[in-house]
């Protein structure tokens, strides 16, 4: 598996008159679980879409590295998986049919697919819901199915846009257990979330507020630097400062 890392410099994105990102620079170092933390409208989804190559930056650059050496997006694209924030699966297709469809899109070998899908159904505990249509899954199961579709091709870079949004606490915990398991495989994972308690679960956090980067680094370091007791406090202080 390749070892990708990403660096953004002065990343800016405007949509008409609204500015979603106003110059964001951070390092997404290889093999770690990164958290993009921020409230709604902070620019998390825009950042994700830029990283996934679905949007082009208005200005600034995104540099990709493979094993420390500069790479282009095309090198990374085949092994990048992205899970959008909004519902994006087909309500009329079953769990199994989703897996089949993504197998075909990724052109996986039958043997690889059989092993991989069995493994994913096992860890997500969705095996017995194989025949159930996506439209009839609970919120948590739906997110897990999205994650399965993203993980089917064994990506080296995983972008998850608010994967735990609107999911009950127990399912959220389960989801994080899954992410820890993935992080252990040393792939680059970027998770965005508006839940501040989830920030501490990441190995690196990048705090976004109104399109600006507030802080970046290891969760404890960030707390120490800002002198705040919790991540909520950082955001609240920022709000008061305005």
């Amino acid at each position: 598996m390749e070892n990708f890392s990403i660096r953004t410099e002065e990343l800016k994105k405007t949509f008409g008159r609204t500015t979603a990102l106003q110059g964001v620079s951070f390092d997404l170092s290889a093999g770690l679980l990164h958290g993009l933390i921020g409230s709604n409208g902070a620019g998390k989804t825009t950042t994700m879409r830029l990283l996934a190559g679905l949007l082009k930056p208005t200005s600034g650059t995104i540099s990709y590295f493979s094993g420390g050496r500069p790479a282009v997006f095309a090198d990374l694209r085949p092994s990048l998986a992205y899970m959008p924030q909004q519902a994006s699966l087909y309500p009329d297709l079953s769990v199994g049919e989703h897996l089949e469809f993504f197998r075909e899109l990724y052109r996986l070998e039958p043997g690889v697919y059989a092993r991989r899908s069995a493994e994913l159904l096992e860890i997500t505990r969705l095996a017995k819901f194989r025949e159930r249509r996506a439209g009839q899954l609970s919120g948590g199961m739906y997110k897990k199915l999205g994650l399965m579709c993203a993980l089917l091709q064994s990506p080296s870079v995983l972008l998850l846009d608010e994967p735990t949004n609107g999911v009950d606490p127990i399912s959220r915990r389960e989801f994080w257990e899954l992410l820890y398991g993935l992080a252990a495989q040393k792939i680059l994972i970027i998770v965005s979330t508006a839940y501040m308690d989830e920030a501490e679960r990441c190995s690196r956090v990048h705090l976004l507020d109104s399109g600006r980067l507030l802080a970046s680094g290891e969760p404890r370091e960030v707390l120490k630097q800002t002198g705040a007791a919790s991540f909520e406090e950082i955001f609240i202080k920022q709000g008061e400062g305005k």
Binding site: R49, A52, G53, L54, K56, A74, R77, P78, L80, A81, Y82, M83, P84, Q86, A87, S88, L89, Y90, P91, D92, L93, E97, F101, F102, E104, L105, Y106, R107, G146, C149, L159
Partner: protein, 371 residues
């Protein structure tokens, strides 16, 4: 970047087929609606005007006047009704109780006996152009017959036309309407089906997910178009059966050529739907736009009802960018005249160019939108 991959296009198509099979509404719409509409409107639309109420003001009352009235009623097109003398017939026209009026002047019979020239006045409700034009078309025949009977013998005319209609000898208007109607309905269906499919993918949020996978825009487009193309083609087949079996429309030309014309036309219509879908990204708006752009030009500007030749110059050129105009020409040429490819070179060339252009437009818009 990787190039076009047929397998991935196929997997998109396969998924689309699953959607279609699970959505009975789409399936019924695609297969049932064309047949239903063609049958329904095929019966309803008839250019022949029959049973026109003719208000007659007979101020003569003689034998010649009586015979003239008989001529009108025996033509099968008119139902003469006596009107009260004076302004009677005009009042009947005003109130819509009659569509035409016949005034026979006093001394009509006497003058004819005397061998003089006489006139009978025929007044027509001009508020309905189409009806009026059809009725005027019947007059020369009645006049000729009347001349022969009233004068006792056929007048010797120095010159006369002998008219014979080729391809549709009885001028059966259904032979003319049904193939055209099929073109309109098939075009509309193709536009609507594709207009909805990509918009649904955007609305559903799945487009974003698709685009983050290795699948290319062209593969998505091909995968989307192929199943709907097949579905519409199945619709064409059913419409063909109805036209042949129910309306007895003749098929003089080559079926293969007709299939080729259908494929070109369907491609153009599918691409138009795709373009709408890509631009609007919303099913509701796509549906409305598809309805308007799919129905109005093909009904009014394709030559289905109004001949292109009689339009103002600007519109004659304007209709050239409308695929239904060319398909209409090709379909009527093949079914009624048995025209071959050589004779239909212009419609075919135009259809080919338009469908290629439309496809390119949709693809370019699709690709640039995503970047």
């Amino acid at each position: 970047m990787n190039g076009f991959n047929l397998h991935r296009a196929y997997s998109i198509a396969r998924k689309e087929v699953m959607h279609i099979l699970r959505d009975p509404f789409t399936l019924a719409l695609a297969l049932g609606l064309p047949v239903m509409l063609v049958t329904f409107f095929g019966y309803a639309i008839d250019y022949e005007v029959k049973g026109i109420t003719l208000a007659v003001s007979d101020q003569d009352g003689g034998p010649a006047a009586r015979r003239l009235k008989e001529m009108f009623s025996s033509s099968g097109y008119f139902l003469p009704v006596e009107a009260v003398p004076g302004s009677g017939p005009v009042a009947m026209l005003d109130s819509g109780r009659a569509s035409a009026a016949l005034f026979i002047e006093p001394e009509f019979s006497k003058k004819i006996m005397g061998g003089g020239a006489v006139q009978a006045q025929f007044v027509l409700d001009g508020s309905d152009n189409a009806k009026g034009a059809a009725v005027v078309g019947y007059l020369p025949g009645i006049q000729r017959a009347a001349q022969a009977r009233l004068a006792g013998q056929a007048l010797r005319e120095p010159f006369s036309f002998e008219t014979r209609f080729l391809y549709n000898p009885e001028l059966n208007s259904r032979w003319f309407t049904v193939p055209g109607l099929a073109a309109i309905i098939i075009g509309l269906l193709a536009i609507l089906l594709t207009a909805l499919t990509v918009a649904r993918e955007w609305e559903n949020g799945s487009m974003e997910l698709l685009l983050s996978t290795p699948v290319r825009p062209l593969e998505i487009m091909v995968g989307k178009l192929a199943p709907y193309g097949a579905l519409v083609l199945a619709g064409v087949f059913f419409v063909y059966l109805v036209a042949r079996l129910v309306f007895g429309v003749p098929f003089a030309g080559s079926h293969l050529l007709y299939l080729a014309a259908c494929l070109l036309f369907i491609t153009a219509a599918l691409s138009q739907g795709l373009f709408i879908s890509v631009v609007t990204r919303q099913q509701q708006v796509a549906m409305q736009l598809g309805m308007i752009t799919g129905l109005l030009p093909s009904m009014l500007l394709s030559g289905f009802i109004f001949p292109v030749e009689s339009m103002p110059k600007f519109f004659q050129y304007f209709t050239m960018i409308l695929p239904p105009r060319w398909f209409m020409a090709a379909a009527r040429g093949i079914t009624l005249k048995g025209a071959d490819l050589g004779e239909l070179a212009v419609p075919f060339l135009a259809l080919g160019l338009l469908s290629a252009g439309m496809l390119a437009l949709a693809l370019i818009k699709f690709k640039t939108d995503l970047e």
